[in-house]
Symmetry: C2
DNA sequence: CCAATAGTGTCTATCAGACACTATGCG
DNA sequence: CGCATAGTGTCTGATAGACACTATTGG
C-alpha cells in the first residue's frame, strides 16, 4: 500500500575534497564522463550502491576518482541537498549527501575510472568556474565549513602529513582563512593547548633556525578557540 | 543504461523538535500509526513526496503531526542517516534527512493525521525510552547540536515568543545546558552583545523588581561566544 | 518592613594581540 | 658577518567570573 506520490530517488554522495598545494587551498574537481552533465566540471562523487551508506560511497568515490584512500583523508558530513530541481539531467530525482574531505598534500590526482579527468584547482578559481548541478553551492558551503572548523577544532592537522612544524601549521590557517597570523602568538597558543600537537623531539633544518617537529595530538576540539 | 546495483531509496525527513516547558527541555515524540514500527514511539517525520525538498517535507510533517506551523519554528538541517540497516521495517531502503526544530512554548501537541498520538516528552526521559529505527541516535545528535549552537549563535531566542526578559533567556540556557549561570554576568554579556536582543522599553511586572522586555535582535552569531 | 527578583559596580586572573627581542641555523 | 626563520619576553587592553551591592516591586 505504497502512497503513490511518495518520492523514489537516487542518492548521490558528493565530496568537497580540500588540500593545500603551494600555500593555497585547492579543491578536487573532475570532468564528468557520465551522460548527465558530460564534459562539465563537478565535484567528485557518485551514486550510492545497494548496501552502501553515504559515507562508504563517498570514500569509494574519492578513491576511484581522486585516488585518495580512506586512511589519507578525514571525511565529515556537510549536508544534504534535495531541492527538486537541483539535478535536471537524470530521469529520476537525485538527492546528494555532501561530504567534506581534508587531505594532506600527498597524492597527485588520479585520472580515475568514472571521471574523465581529475585535478586540484585553487579554491578561488574553482568558485568562479561553472560547475555542474548545485555544486557551486556545495563547494561554498564546504569551504565555509572548513574555515569555521579551524577555529574550534584541531582539523587543521588533517592538512599535514605525519610530522610538521608550527610554521607549517600556521601556513594551513593562513591559507584557509586567507589572513596573516602573528607567528609568535600562534606558536604560544598552539603549543599551549594540551592535545593539539605533540612534540616529537626531532628538528627540521632549512633556512634559518631549525624548527621543532610535532605530530597531531589527541584533542578534537579547541577550547578556547582560535580567532579568525 | 542504469547501473543495476545503484540504490533506489525512499527519503524521509525526521525532526528533533525541541521546546521548553516548565523550565525543562522537551522533545516532540509520536506514536507510530503507520505499518512500519507501528505502536512504537518515534520522532515526528515522514517520506518526501514528489516535488518536495527535505526541508519542505520536514515543515509539512511538523505541521501535520505536531501542529507546529512554519512561522512558529526554526528549522535547521542536522544530518543524514543512511546506514543500510537503519530501517528494516520497510520493503525499500530508507534514508533520513534529520532536522532540528526549535519552538517557543506556544502549542499543545496535536494528535495529527499520520501519527496516532503526539506529545512533548522531557528530553532526559526521551533519551532513555525505546524509540523506533535509529531515532535514539538522531535525538542525541539533535540535543547536542542545540547545546553547541547556544554557545556561538543567537538561536536561544527561538525558544521564546515575542517579548521576553533576560531572566527568561537565561532560563533557556540553563535548561538546555543543564547548568546554572551567573545572572549578573549573563545580563551584561547578553545586553552588551550588539544585535542579540533589542530593548522594547516595556517592563514585565511580577514578584520583585520589574524586568525590562526585549525582542530577538538581528544578529545570528555570537562573537565572542557564551561558554558552557 | 521583608522577600524576591532585576540589574550595576568592582576586583582579579587570564588571555589575545602587538611587537621587541633572543636563538640558531645557512651561505 | 648578514640574513632568515624559530621561538621567548613583556606590556597592554579586554573580558569572564566571582560576588558584593543597589534598585524596585509585591505582600
Amino acid at each position: 500500500m505504497t502512497t503513490p506520490d511518495r518520492l523514489i530517488a537516487w542518492v548521490a554522495a558528493d565530496i568537497v575534497a580540500l588540500t593545500l598545494r603551494g600555500g593555497a587551498l585547492h579543491v578536487a574537481l573532475v570532468k564528468r564522463k557520465a551522460a548527465a552533465a558530460r564534459g562539465q566540471w563537478a565535484l567528485p562523487g557518485g551514486f550510492l550502491l545497494q548496501g552502501e551508506s553515504a559515507e562508504v560511497a563517498a570514500a569509494r568515490e574519492l578513491e576511484e576518482e581522486v585516488g585518495l584512500g580512506r586512511a589519507e583523508v578525514r571525511l565529515e558530513q556537510l549536508g544534504t541537498y534535495s531541492a527538486p530541481k537541483r539535478d535536471t539531467e537524470h530521469s529520476r530525482r537525485v538527492i546528494s549527501v555532501a561530504y567534506l574531505a581534508l587531505a594532506a598534500n600527498l597524492p597527485e590526482t588520479v585520472a580515475g575510472t568514472d571521471a574523465g579527468e581529475a585535478s586540484w584547482v585553487p579554491v578561488d578559481k574553482a568558485v568562479k568556474r561553472r560547475l555542474a548541478f548545485d555544486h557551486p553551492q556545495i563547494l561554498r558551503d564546504g569551504v565555509e565549513r572548513a574555515r569555521a572548523k579551524l577555529e574550534y577544532s584541531t582539523i587543521a592537522t588533517s592538512f599535514l602529513d605525519g610530522e610538521f612544524t608550527i610554521s607549517e601549521l600556521r601556513a594551513v590557517y593562513e591559507a584557509v582563512w586567507g589572513a596573516r597570523l602573528d607567528a609568535a602568538n600562534f606558536h604560544r597558543k598552539v603549543t599551549g593547548t594540551p592535545g593539539f600537537v605533540e612534540a616529537t623531539g626531532e628538528m627540521r633544518r632549512g633556512r634559518g633556525r631549525p624548527a621543532a617537529l610535532f605530530t597531531a595530538g589527541s584533542a578534537q576540539s579547541l577550547n578556547p578557540p582560535l580567532t579568525r
